[in-house]
């Protein structure tokens, strides 16, 4: 049970306070309700590039990191297809520094050309490091456009192509800031060794004077139901073949979400899961196999992924995955097995309360979905899932005409050259 207090400033900023006096630290987490899904199809990767620019100095504070490090704090941020999240941890006695820094960059950025120039390069290197220069690193660049034809989830957070990042202009940066970075589109969580009254005072002091800005009304093209099997085969410089099968599923707020998450646990969570036991251990067809969901706000993906062992054909590998899916479609999950994944989910939620930052991020996320208190009711929702519901969802999802299959075939590449010394 994570207790919290909640209030809203006149400019629309939602503030949540979680008092936890077991730590000498404080966390300030700000979630901006903007992600890669809000980008122009011709300017993808922008939300993430923008996240980098948020560290390039704000209107009154030339350097963001230095003043925070000086008071013993650390910070980071991430961008997803749905949200952009910034967080600071610092000794609680210095929490006002976090208010000062975060409020100034919500007020306005410095918008420096040099910062844009450098961060474009940094993000291009990130693009290479994570997506292009790794075996299978480009999987999301290929799989997303197969699953999504109209929704902006069809591109990855990093962007469709490096070119979009190269082309980013300072005017675009300013317009993006104006549209998305204002109090109405943000949720702030302060947690740790803090008192609600003091947080209220500091929030009013630093964030209160920021103009409300315009409310962004999201109106995205929703993805139509899929009616045909999709399939792509790529030959790549990868060492092993790899099979991905993605299915469309409903979004995070749909009532089917908890059922589907438990279904992915039954298939793939831990060494007692079905895919591992059957396909890695018993039948010995794969070296590794996984099932997971993206948990997206809008229509999401249920993904199966496996690397077949050498000598196992792609057909055989796919067939064996489908056999497991058929099983969960036709036979109800036994009570013990369902209890098992419920127990695991319950204990995971208890363990997640060990981390202050996790709690703060969770509160922000649930508030975004409508109500931070829903975080405290997650367990009940998982416990209420029945075997019949899992079977129903399995039948809804696991159909060929709802599937997108991406196959990596390992290209016969030259052996790496021997190490030479000079």
């Amino acid at each position: 049970m994570v207790k919290f207090n909640k209030f809203k400033l006149d400019n629309g900023l939602r503030v949540i306070v979680h008092e936890d006096n077991t730590t000498p630290m404080a966390v300030l987490n700000i979630l901006y309700d903007v992600g890669a899904r809000d980008e122009d199809p011709e300017q993808t990767g922008f939300a993430h590039l923008f996240e980098h620019l948020m560290f390039g100095g704000s209107v009154n504070i030339p350097h963001y990191d230095g003043p925070l490090q000086r008071v013993g704090g650390e910070n980071n941020a991430f961008t997803s297809n749905d949200i952009t999240n910034y967080y600071i941890t610092l000794p609680s006695t210095n929490v006002e520094t976090a208010f000062w820094l975060e409020s100034d960059r919500m007020l306005s950025l410095a918008f420096s050309e040099k910062s844009l120039e450098v961060q474009r390069n940094v993000v291009i290197e990130e693009f290479k490091q994570r997506y292009l220069n790794q075996p299978y690193g480009d999987v999301w660049l290929k799989l997303r456009p197969m699953v999504y034809k109209s929704h902006p989830y069809r591109w990855a957070t990093i962007g469709k192509t490096i070119k979009h990042i190269e082309d980013a202009k300072i005017e675009d940066v300013k317009a993006f800031f104006k549209k998305h970075y204002n109090p109405q589109n943000a949720i702030m969580v302060i947690g740790g060794d803090v008192k609600t009254e003091e947080v209220k005072r500091l929030a009013e002091k630093w964030f209160g004077p920021i103009p409300a800005g315009e409310k962004y009304n999201r109106d995205l093209p929703q993805e139509a139901p899929q009616h045909e099997e999709r399939r792509e085969i790529v030959t790549a410089k990868v060492p092993l073949n790899d099979v991905y099968i993605a299915f469309q599923m409903e979004g995070r707020m749909d009532k089917s979400y908890h059922t589907i998450e438990l279904m992915s646990d039954i298939l793939s969570r831990g060494n007692s899961s079905r895919l591992y036991k059957s396909l890695v251990k018993d039948k010995q067809l794969f070296s590794e196999v996984h099932a997971y969901i993206t948990g997206s706000m809008d229509k999401g993906m249920f993904v199966l992924e496996g690397k077949p062992l050498e000598g196992i054909s792609i057909e055989q590998a796919e067939e064996s995955l489908w056999q497991e899916l058929e099983k969960i479609k036709t036979e109800e999950v036994p009570a013990d097995e369902l209890t098992k994944v419920k127990n695991k989910t319950e204990s995971t939620l208890v363990f997640s309360e060990m981390s202050l930052l996790d709690k703060a991020m969770n509160l922000a996320n649930y508030e975004l979905m409508g109500d931070a208190d829903e975080f405290n009711h997650e367990t009940e929702k998982f416990l209420a899932v029945t075997s019949a519901q899992i079977k129903e969802q399995a039948n809804k999802l696991f159909r060929k005409e709802n599937s997108s299959t991406l196959i990596y075939l390992a290209e016969g590449v030259e052996e790496p050259k021997a190490v030479v010394t000079e």
């Binding site: 008071v71 006002e96 290197e125 994570r130 060492p239 007692s272 030479v420 010394t421 000079e422």
Partner: protein, 427 residues
């Protein structure tokens, strides 16, 4: 009401007291040491069983890691599937974790299920049998995973670097596919018996470690278990650093090159270690470091660059690591050398030094997030044969070290010409 001056930073306080929770200690008659940290609001517990690795045998290099990894693959009572079922059913997590010096078994569980899950751990630690079929699966899957890792430039650079610094030792080991083939069930059983015995075992409990929980652990692990006929030999052969300093593994189609540059270094037990951590932080140990400021934030050559210090029982290392655009790799190496030399030739500016000091103290405070972190700090000390006064010295050094002292250390410990340099990609 006064007008808000947003250009003026709020006042701040330094970090004065770092309060580390110290453990309760019990020693069982069989030689097993138990340390417990009782704290936290949640009804959960983390228990670690730590065993010193056996002396490295270059002819059978994978025994330590393979035995540890396969502990959950079957005992004479339970097969791998049954072990997984039991642990998962109770919502617990059972992990094995191999390190250069020690191998561990880690259990995370809600306290209400402790007794059942403890029995499984006892079985795993005292009666693993390494079934032939599971060994075959392990070997096959590890070989496949290795093939994927070998396509990652940073992984390859790390292997070449470790081999260069440490040679054919447990620290320098880079497994080849054929090494996995040489694993036999008999060797693993013998290794298991010699290593996993009470006198080579340290148990660390953190969380709701109340008397009832401690009683359950004591009861389960007291008395005779394991094979105590042969003592665990946890000594290690001498390191064999390479004469060569430069290693280049060319990858024709690389978009980025992995760089790893560094040298064998003093360990945590050395009096200079805390001060060197300050020096390392200035160079590349945090987001505002000189390497990041220059090579990422000014030049844009990389997504990330950092330096670090590792400390093991027998050796340590100082290293700089990055993945940089293939076309700017040479330039990046030049900048790394430049930054090292600037710290040797010039004093660190007072403002920068005080920032780093505050940052490090804040980071230390922040690293004590929960009771698990307090146990982790203890492990850093205990397995290096250090006492809690280490952290007093550490915080004292951070507070008092001066720029001239750091410059002396930079000259004493850093010689770029003598550093090992590994490039994987294009150069």
């Amino acid at each position: 009401m006064s007008i808000l001056d947003r250009k003026l930073a709020p006042g701040f306080n330094g970090v004065d007291n770092i309060n580390l929770i110290r453990p309760q200690q019990t020693k069982l008659a069989n030689g097993c040491n138990i340390f417990s940290f009782n704290s936290g609001d949640q009804d959960l517990v983390r228990i670690e069983w730590v065993f010193g690795n056996l002396r490295f045998n270059p002819k059978k290099p994978l025994l330590n890691v393979a035995v540890n990894t396969m502990l959950t693959e079957g005992t004479s009572k339970l097969n791998a599937a049954q072990i997984a079922d039991k642990i998962d059913f109770y919502g617990a997590f059972l992990q094995v974790d191999y390190g250069y010096d020690n191998s561990q078994v880690i259990l995370y569980t809600l306290t209400k299920y402790l007794k059942t899950t403890l029995d499984v751990v006892k079985d795993v630690i005292t009666d693993s049998v390494f079934p032939e079929k599971e060994l075959e699966t392990y070997v096959r899957n590890q070989q496949q995973k290795l093939q994927v890792s070998m396509r990652k430039n940073d992984f390859v650079a790390r292997r070449i670097f470790n081999k260069a610094l440490y040679g054919e030792t447990i620290y320098g080991l880079g497994a080849e596919p054929e090494d996995f083939k040489s694993l036999t069930r008999e060797d693993m059983l013998a290794h298991f018996k010699q290593m996993y015995q009470p006198s080579n075992c340290t148990i660390i409990i953190a969380g709701r470690a109340d008397p009832e929980i401690l009683g359950a652990v004591n009861q389960t692990f007291e008395g005779a278990w394991g094979d105590i006929t042969l003592p665990a030999d946890i000594s290690q052969p001498d390191l064999e650093p390479s004469e060569e300093r430069f290693f280049y593994s060319e990858k024709a189609d690389a978009l980025q090159s992995a760089i790893r540059i560094g040298t064998p270094f003093v360990t945590r037990t050395h009096p200079d270690f805390p001060a060197l951590q300050v020096l390392n932080t200035v160079l590349g140990g945090y987001f505002g470091s000189r390497l990041m400021a220059n090579i990422r934030e000014d030049k844009g050559y990389t997504y990330g660059i950092g330096s670090g210090m590792t400390s093991f029982k027998q050796t340590g290392a100082f290293f700089i690591a990055s993945e940089v655009g293939a076309d700017v790799c040479k330039l990046a190496v030049v900048e790394i050398e430049k930054e090292i030399n600037i710290l040797k030739e010039n004093l660190i500016d007072e403002k920068e030094l005080s920032l780093v000091k505050n940052y490090m103290l804040g980071a230390l405070l922040g690293s004590l997030e929960n009771v698990f972190s307090h146990a982790d700090k203890f492990k850093n000390l205990y397995f290096a044969n250090l006492d809690y006064d280490y952290y007093d010295r550490y915080t004292q050094t951070i507070k008092t070290i001066t720029a001239p002292e750091l410059q002396v250390l930079a000259n004493k410990y850093w010689d770029f010409a003598d550093f090992y340099k590994v490039i994987v990609g294009k150069y």
